[in-house]
């Protein structure tokens, strides 16, 4: 029983971060029907911004996190301006290649700026590094902080979508861009807002993840793959699906590693995805409408 609790807690923490990355991917995909392949690098870059502020400049953690979110938003908006807007009427391959190009540019820039300061950069824990006992289970407070932070961000994001004007306009554009245009919504702005919001969530995920892991310029792709897998599992167009997909992947990985063998950690989630997509091609909570990607 103790083993199960440890594994579930670990899976939930990792899964909540996958969910945040997946949310960013889905927000952009819902609005623009494009997968932003630079999403992992936006995540990485925002993480380094938080590191620079918190570790190098001594800015407290919370303002550093908010700055990473803001920086992520700007970087996402810039991705829209550089890679999406000029090519929005081009074929989908061009759009995908443009986002891949942005990913390489960001990775190269990060290597130049932060690549020479150590192989992996540590981010100090935001809570006490000493484990605490909760009901006989040893927990790192940092894990709880990450879990709580992820939940707060997900709730805030849901509220933004449901309660704000901008959120409603994003939903309207995602549902039907032409109808949204006819209704007077400036869809170009909404696309930019979507890229920015997606990257802002990635920024939050990066700042939350940083104290649990180590930062390095090539980290983005592996996180993107996990987030993308979570988004696909959830249905690519469903925001609750992204959360469900992320947490499912985190838990499946932990259980497979604990009960089968650690070699199953990396493949287990993809095996589950394969089976889910065979049974339900639109993912767990996805809709059936056509997508450009």
């Amino acid at each position: 029983m103790e083993l199960l609790v440890y594994l579930l807690l670990s899976g939930l923490t990792t899964g909540s971060l996958y969910a945040l990355i997946a949310l960013g991917i889905v927000v952009v995909n819902k609005a623009t029907a494009v997968i932003n392949f630079a999403h992992g690098e936006l995540f990485m870059f925002s993480g380094f911004v938080a590191w620079m502020l918190h570790v190098q400049m001594g800015v407290p953690y919370l303002p550093s996190l908010l700055a990473a979110v803001a920086f992520g938003f700007l970087l996402g908006a810039a991705t829209d301006l550089i890679a999406f807007r000029p090519l929005k009427n081009a074929n989908i391959i061009s759009l995908v290649l443009a986002t891949i190009g942005i990913a390489f540019m960001l990775r190269g820039t990060a290597r130049v700026i932060w690549g020479g300061k150590g192989d992996y950069l540590p981010f100090p824990p935001i809570t006490s590094p000493e484990p605490i006992m909760i009901g006989g289970i040893m927990v790192i407070p940092q894990q709880l902080a990450v879990l709580a932070g992820s939940i707060v961000i997900m709730v805030a994001f849901a509220a933004f979508f449901r309660l704000t004007r901008a959120g409603k306009m994003m939903q309207a554009t995602a549902d039907n861009a032409k109808a949204a245009t006819l209704a007077g919504i400036r869809v170009d702005r909404i696309y930019m807002l979507s890229f920015g919001t997606g990257a802002a969530i990635a920024g939050a995920a990066a700042a939350l993840m940083a104290p649990l892991t180590l930062l390095y310029p090539d980290m983005g792709f592996s996180f993107f793959i996990k987030g993308f897998a979570a988004a696909v599992l959830g249905g690519l167009t469903s925001l609750p699906g992204a959360v469900l997909g992320g947490i499912s992947i985190g838990i499946v990985e932990a259980l497979a590693g604990g009960y089968l063998h650690s070699s199953f950690i990396e493949v287990s989630a993809f095996i589950v995805i394969m089976f889910v997509l065979v049974v339900r091609p639109t993912g767990l909570l996805g809709s059936t409408r056509f997508r450009r990607v």
């Binding site: 790192i140 980290m219 932990a254």
Partner: protein
């Protein structure tokens, strides 16, 4: 014959006579009457710069000292650097550039193993003398390429030393946690062979991905198997995650690392959990920590030449390999050829450098010239210390 034709014939004869007086030097690439051009390749940018740029800085300070003392047989040493970014294709390009465009005489290089393995064929075909400074993959030195020597440890030597060290410390239930990418396999396979040779079976054999952010599952399984020592075949990042989670779950075995985690002080920072690395031991290719007074001379040289840099173990890799190259060049004599340098390197026996734990010995049938890994550890709040040396046969 007119005066003009006489002059032409005379000048031509004079030119031929001068050329004939210096036949050897004109034909040896990278060698002039007063310089020897040595190339180096490794990562100058990207996360692998530790194994490229920093050893090269070490090479450069050795060359500076040699040059300040008058050079080798009157020739000053010049270092030409090429960036391979730890990328196999870039490494092939880098060594081709050094050999064919820069026309270097010899090479001291090789940071990341995958890149150096890729460049091996090009280096061997060119028959250029090479000393590997940091790459540890067995495929670089086995089978023996006549002109490629290594002063770095090799992965099979380190793997054998890891098991030996755990046994020497009294471990009875030894487990393994490893990455299974190309780097990990180059260590994991010889490690399993070392187990087999000793007639031991690991109590558990776990895997971890290079990008893993959680090791709860692995730690719980190892704890359940009652492992008293874990051989850690991981990069610093997953190793840091493993050590952090091991502490979280109250699992405190002897953790035995390898030269991929060569800086215990940096590793302690990366783990970020006080006391989590207390039972961590790792291999160093060099016998001194950067803080050791024995390397004061080199610390001063590095800090003077590269303001803002602190002496690191990676600098020491370059210093050791450069000292071996310098010794080879001295022994090759004033009429320098690549063949003479190779013969001189093949003749090195128990050559002592300022940094390596044991003597450097190269023979024609075995170019793994450094077989003495040192063991280092950092207890919380204390400096890194050298525990001892394992001589691998």
């Amino acid at each position: 014959m007119t005066l003009k034709r006489c002059l032409k014939a005379g000048l031509s004869g004079l030119f031929l006579a001068v050329a004939a007086l210096q036949p050897g030097q004109a034909q040896v690439p990278g060698v002039t009457a007063d310089t020897i051009k040595i190339g180096s390749f490794g990562a100058l940018t990207g996360p692998g710069y530790l194994y490229g740029k920093l050893p090269m800085n070490g090479i450069e300070v050795v060359f500076d000292q040699v040059n300040a003392a008058g050079g080798i047989n009157g020739r000053k040493l010049e270092l030409v650097r090429e960036d391979d970014r730890c990328d196999p294709a870039a490494a092939i390009g880098a060594v081709k550039k050094l050999i064919h465009e820069e026309k270097v005489f010899a090479i001291i290089g090789g940071g990341c193993s995958n890149a150096t393995v890729a460049a091996r064929e090009t280096l061997a075909e060119a028959k250029i003398p090479v000393i590997i400074m940091a790459s540890v993959h067995d495929g670089i030195t086995t089978p023996v390429a006549p002109t490629i020597f290594s002063t770095a440890l090799t992965s099979s030597l380190e793997s054998a030393a890891m098991l030996q060290f755990a046994l020497d410390q009294g471990a009875k239930r030894i487990a393994v946690i490893s990455m299974r990418d190309a780097w990990g396999r180059s260590r994991y396979t010889p490690l399993m062979e070392a187990f087999q040779k000793k007639g031991i079976k690991p109590v558990l054999d776990e895997e971890m991905a290079p990008d893993a952010n959680d090791a709860t599952a692995q730690v719980l399984r190892l704890k359940g198997a009652n492992a008293d020592a874990v051989l850690v075949v991981l990069y610093p990042k997953p190793a840091a995650i493993f050590m952090r989670d091991a502490q979280k779950l109250g699992f405190k075995p002897l953790a035995v690392g390898q030269s991929g985690i060569a800086d215990p002080a940096a590793f302690e920072d990366q783990v970020g959990s006080p006391g989590a690395t207390a039972s961590f031991r790792t291999i160093s290719m060099v016998r001194y920590t950067p803080e050791d007074p024995a390397v004061d001379k080199w610390r001063k040289a590095i800090e003077a030449k590269f303001p803002g840099d602190r002496l690191s173990v990676f600098n020491l890799f370059g210093i050791g390999s450069a000292q071996v190259m310098v010794e080879g060049l001295k022994r090759a004599g004033p009429d320098l050829t690549r063949e003479k340098l190779v013969a001189a390197l093949n003749g090195l026996k128990d050559f002592q450098t300022d940094v390596y734990p044991g003597g450097i010995t190269c023979v024609e049938t075995d170019h793994r010239c450094n077989k003495s890994p040192a063991w280092i550890a950092k207890e919380p709040g204390k400096p890194v210390r050298v525990l001892g040396v394992t001589k691998v046969e």
